[in-house]
Symmetry: C2
């Protein structure tokens, strides 16, 4: 998506450790006009899939997921709830939740992603939304929650995919449909190259 | 706001310890059509205030804040970025952030709310948005971040205020304009009474 790529080139900063800092528009300060465009694009890509639920993960996926749901409403008149998975450090999980462990790339250690069983059912058709895809641990965790619920996974809409990290290739190979609005093949001091 | 009150009456559950469980539409599963209505209402209430920035707190304020920003765009053509304060447990804070301690009602202990200094400046006119107001600790923390930045605080838009807890009264007395879309004066097994 051209607008997102331009934003990344204009405002993104490449830091050491394969970190792309985009917190001026994506994951600390949020450009909601951009999110609305991204939502319309996800809506165009997944609009024919009879999505009944959008699932994301706190915190930075929530804004994009909400604007995507809003786009489904304005484009198709569909009311699609957004469910955000919570990140829990405790193993103190109740029987009322779906839960899956996720390895954290930035923090090293593990956490659980958790969704209340009330909000995912076998009849649901689920679109996953997240801001970043790199090693794919979070997305695999969300996929596992959908599997536990018996719902149908339609695919995943991602804002920025780091194509030089293995998550996207692995998950696609395992059959997940992933639509990333910007895929970065290379980034370093000299610049950013999109696929 | 009538629609929100109806949702609370239809789906809210009063639990022990003054807990109102509304995670079916507000803070786990999110009813984005409702958020869009709430956003339009905040826009109506604060639309003349020349807001330049919406500030909220992760995670459950983000969806409402984003739909509020979207309403400012569709109603007035204004592009207002949303900044979400992060909750940090570490005291390991850099010089690049505004930070304020917040007491947690549900968890007992303390955390810091943190915003990068890049995203709040003296020229900003800030609208705070959050899902709940009870004891007001989080909202007071956000007010402190705005104070540190030198920005002007316009006020706060809240979805649900627990009017029987002291946060709203205290903060209003201290001069904060607070607009709550539903104020609960009493709740127990026999029902919920709005102000």
């Amino acid at each position: 998506m051209q607008l997102l790529k331009e934003k990344i080139l204009a405002q993104g900063q490449v830091l050491s450790g394969n970190v792309l800092k985009v917190d001026g528009f994506l994951n600390h300060q949020m450009d909601v006009a951009l999110f609305a465009e991204m939502g319309r694009e996800f809506c165009r890509l997944f609009g024919s899939e009879k999505v009944t639920k959008i699932v994301t993960i706190e915190a930075s996926g929530i804004g994009i997921a909400c604007l995507t749901a809003h786009a489904f409403y304005t484009e198709y008149g569909q009311h699609i709830p957004v469910v955000f998975a919570k990140k829990c450090r405790t193993a103190n999980l109740s029987a009322d939740v779906y839960a899956a462990p996720v390895q954290s790339y930035t923090h090293g250690c593990c956490y659980d992603v958790v969704i209340s069983k009330q909000y995912l059912s076998p009849g649901d058709r689920v679109l996953l939304i997240d801001d970043f895809l790199a090693n794919g641990y979070a997305l695999a965790g969300l996929r596992e929650l959908v599997r536990q619920s018996g719902a149908t996974l339609i695919g995943a809409g991602i804002a920025i995919e780091k194509g030089f990290q293995p998550g996207g290739a692995t998950l696609r190979q395992e059959g997940m449909r992933i639509e990333s609005l910007a895929i970065i093949d290379r980034m370093d001091d000299s610049g950013i190259t999109f696929r």
